[in-house]
Symmetry: C2
Subunit: 338 residues, 2 copies
DNA sequence: TTGAAAGCGCTACCAG
DNA sequence: CTGGTAGCGCTTTCAA
């Protein structure tokens, strides 16, 4: 930069301003600077020096639970990520991916990340990465919870949503079952009964389960006998596998309503129902969550919310483009699966 | 760091070494340093200063054609990305996402990216971003092409693969059709005939098309009458849509073989075939590409290659962990779809 | 194994 | 609108 200044016959500061705040310098100065820069093949301020001096990196991190692979395989996480990417484009900021493996190294990665803030995909209650993030003193926003001091939270009211969708899905049902998102980081596939939602370590699972429990009771049914099938990942094939297990019982106990926690899982359930030759919604009703395009194509009754908007909002808050997290709008979409 | 040095009663360099190369200093010095650091709540070297001084960022970028959304929606791109992420974990390096929108701003983004190298997802021939990347003087590796001076290339021989899979898919066929990956950045959905592969602007599409053309001629058929359906994105639903169009012709011209350029597209074709009540492979044979798990579940004959390994290898080369790009192994997997 | 000096390239700050 | 100065926090280099 000093060389450019010399060549242009101006001060170093004029060069700096020409690149950083072009409108601050006169047109003639700017022209001289850019001409000299071109001449010397100077491509612009050095990023590292800029960061050192300004204390900013112009990057944000998006932190994903577990392997990045899960994040990419999950359609809902992808929508969220797209929203984050959009905000980064708005702000001309870089987007760093930060895996949150659940191992000790995560804390170091967070501390050392060359970023100005963190957008976090929902993780388990008491994840130590949240304290690590707060410890950096940088802004952070988490989607879906858990609520954590010093971290903004974006997401819908999952309990209320679950109560509302259950009211639709359970109309006339006698033997509902639930297909649940993963329970904890172990990601075991299992069928449980008499479930205490409070034991689920992922906040989204816990809250939707709480709502489903309430919904079941509101429908005058017994929660203790409701089977809850927990999947390992939020994928259609997992939903189908679990639905097959849940439906593989004597006729007298055959489920007549499936409350899934996501559209992917619900779509899998629809696959299983089709395979088994059952009638939808007469033999069994199905509800999902998120209102993806595939869900609307399939006529799935679901909870509508925009993960893209949440990703965008979360990132904009972290980037300082938005002042605060906006409340998330949601609604129940009734379709032919109920 | 100076404060820590003072508190520990050692030189600044001993502090620096304690963090950067712990084995270089004596145990006692290290202990003193870490104790002082803890006391002063010093969390470790400042990233920006480290980068300024060392000239390294300890980050690599992965550059995706067009919107990031496409990258995330594409199952194959995702596998590749997972491989890149794995390598970053090996190297303890950060992973930055860099969108390549095809607009002028891309060049600036590349130039300003705080990274040590670039892993590039396949893009169009003559994409100006490639020159921009070379212009940074940083290492780069592209998957799938185009071949570009100064950029390493990882990927299989698509022409040979296409010839080989076509030989299987076209056995006994009279009226083959092709379902092609996007043609260019316009991403128009269209059905073409008498196609000149050389006109395709995505190298992967061009090369596979070249191989399919050869395969068709090898089978003693006329290429000029082969319909090539080009999709907008590599998604199952797009494959199904295109297959329906291609199959929606009078019986006498009904396709009896579908050469798809990806498993996703091929799986979509299988969906369409099932809907239409056609017999697989008797009425129509289908081949795909990549050998995803969904493809093997569906009994799809396909070209097997590992995008994960390619992503990992590409990133390791860029990170300097591997010396050179390894040749990609591939094979034809024969299953029940042919 | 430890240390001193120099300076990476830039921008905040203040002055004109 | 332009410019001078100082110093961000570290590591490279060289020396002991």
């Amino acid at each position: 930069m000093a060389d450019v200044a010399k060549a242009a016959g101006v001060s170093v500061m004029s060069v700096s301003y020409s690149f950083a705040q072009p409108e601050r310098v006169s047109e003639s100065t700017r022209a001289k600077v850019f001409a000299a820069a071109e001449e010397l093949e100077y491509a612009g301020p050095n990023r590292a020096a800029q960061s050192l001096r300004s204390g900013k990196f112009n990057n944000i991190a998006v932190v994903f639970s577990e392997k990045l692979t899960y994040a990419f395989e999950d359609a809902v996480a992808r929508r969220f990520l797209s929203g984050v990417a959009e905000a980064c484009l708005d702000a001309n900021a870089g987007l760093m991916m930060l895996p949150n493996s659940g191992k000790p190294g995560d804390v170091d990665r967070v501390r050392d990340a060359a970023v100005d803030g963190f957008v976090v995909w929902t993780t388990v209650f008491d994840d130590p990465i949240l304290d690590a993030i707060v410890g950096t003193g940088k802004p952070a926003c988490i989607q879906g919870g858990p609520l954590h001091e010093g971290v903004d939270l974006v997401g819908m009211d999952d309990v209320a949503g679950a109560v509302a969708i259950a009211a639709v899905g359970l109309s006339g049902a006698q033997r509902p079952v639930v297909i649940s998102l993963p329970w904890d980081r172990e990601r075991r596939s299992e069928i449980r009964m008499d479930v205490d939602p409070g034991e689920a370590l992922f906040p989204v699972s816990r809250h939707r389960l709480e709502g489903y429990e309430r919904g079941v009771r509101n429908a005058g049914l017994e929660w203790s006998s409701v089977r809850v099938g927990v999947v390992t990942v939020n994928e259609r094939s997992e939903g189908a596998r679990m639905a097959r297990s849940l439906l593989d019982v004597p006729v007298s106990r055959k489920p007549d309503a499936i409350l899934a926690m996501s559209d992917e899982l619900a779509l899998g359930a629809l696959d299983a129902i089709r395979e088994l030759g059952l009638a939808l919604p007469d033999d069994v009703a199905v509800v999902g969550w998120d209102d993806t395009t595939a869900a609307s194509d399939a006529g799935l009754t679901t909870v509508r919310q925009s993960l893209f908007d949440q990703g965008r909002n979360a990132a904009r808050v972290v980037l300082g483009l938005d002042d605060a997290v906006e409340p998330v709008e949601w609604s129940v979409r009734r379709r032919t699966s109920t």
